[in-house]
Symmetry: C2
Subunit: 231 residues, 2 copies
């Protein structure tokens, strides 16, 4: 049983709390039995750590697990995972332009998985998808999606998909968007929406008709759009 | 300018951090200029407090405001609001059976408002809708909805609406639900879904078709259902 925070494996895991190490090492941590199982199913689990002495796990003490966990409650197991090396571009793509809230990001990943938007393109300025809160909200979707990172405009040059931005005030009502085999949807930042640079490209915008001048949470708006386009 | 935490107004506001006082006093606090304005627009603002000396506000010191706020960042103003006395039952009703996460509750309120589900029935066992996190996520929807609290089964006896439960695995696919003028949708707890007691009533269940055996966040599933039924 590992009881020391000076243990080299533990020191490595602790470093992964920082996004820059996650990126340079191409590894991240997931917390809880459900996510460890999802990582294993996806072939992305490198090692698993448990409070118990059981096969296939490295045992750690409660104080060590406490240090490794990002939640207040100590989980019984965590997994060291590798990032998926998959730059595949599927027919349906979700493009995220500055999504900041980890809960929104995780929920969007979960919905993307449910509605067959199997490729995520994450523009610069979005929250790190390997953040512990994102992984928790994603409920395992992080192990099932393809993702790419970078400049959205450059990415748009490479794909042949029909691309839509989103707008809360005007555009094509969602119900009138006709089904396309290859479609990409751009969602913008919680406060400011899709960036001006992308708005200036003259792409068609989808809007969701609402009563009065209400607005929707971005994870909800994005999920409704993916639901409608998933047929 | 109020500088003392012993001031009777401040002591009253601090008491409202507890749900039992909010309920007995029928009052609650909202934080931030946007929500104070929404409360004012809805005629539900009793008093407003600001860090600045300005008309229509009671000025308080920064340390007092810090104590009043629930967020880490100190807001510039807060509002003392009265709960809406409105037991009106509209044609579209959202019934919440044990929603626990404040963010989910607030997002659902925001979507309910956007899609015309103007009555919320909150069953026992759900998070308090006057909780500060719920109010923040609701983005002002809390001032626009009618709400009632109590036992869901008893409430169902009183209404003449077509009532649907929700199920992640089976039921009537959402697209096949036919439009009804008067409709009520029951959403269940994040982990356990709709309670067994309500499932035993033999109500029709709505389900949202998804790929594989994914599931959706409850606020997202509920919002998609309200979107689809809002036509």
């Amino acid at each position: 049983m590992i009881e020391s925070l000076e243990n080299s494996k533990i020191k490595f895991l602790l470093k992964l709390k920082l996004s820059k190490y996650r990126r340079s090492e191409q590894k991240f941590i997931c917390e809880g039995a459900h996510l460890v199982q999802e990582a294993r199913n996806a072939g992305l689990l490198i090692e698993a750590y448990s409070l118990e002495d059981k096969e296939g796990y490295i045992q750690v003490s409660v104080p060590v697990m406490k240090k490794l966990c990002n939640t207040n409650t100590v989980v019984s197991e965590i997994g060291l995972c590798k990032m998926k090396e998959n730059t595949k571009i599927t027919d349906k793509i979700l493009i995220l332009d500055g999504i900041q809230d980890p809960g929104n990001m995780g929920s969007l990943m979960r919905s993307a998985c449910a509605f067959g938007f199997k490729t995520l393109f994450i523009g610069t300025g979005s929250v790190d998808i390997f953040n512990d809160k994102v992984i928790r909200s994603s409920q395992g979707a992080i192990f099932k999606l393809n993702y790419q990172f970078g400049d959205i405009s450059e990415f748009l040059n490479k794909i042949t998909h029909k691309v839509y931005t989103t707008n809360v005030l005007e555009g094509i009502p969602l119900k009138k968007i006709k089904a396309e085999d290859k479609v990409a949807v751009i969602l913008g930042n919680e406060g400011n929406g899709v960036s001006k640079e992308l708005q200036a490209l003259g792409l068609d915008a989808i809007y969701i008709p609402m009563q009065n001048t209400e607005s929707l949470n971005v994870a909800i708006a994005g999920s409704i759009i993916m639901y409608e386009l998933s047929k």
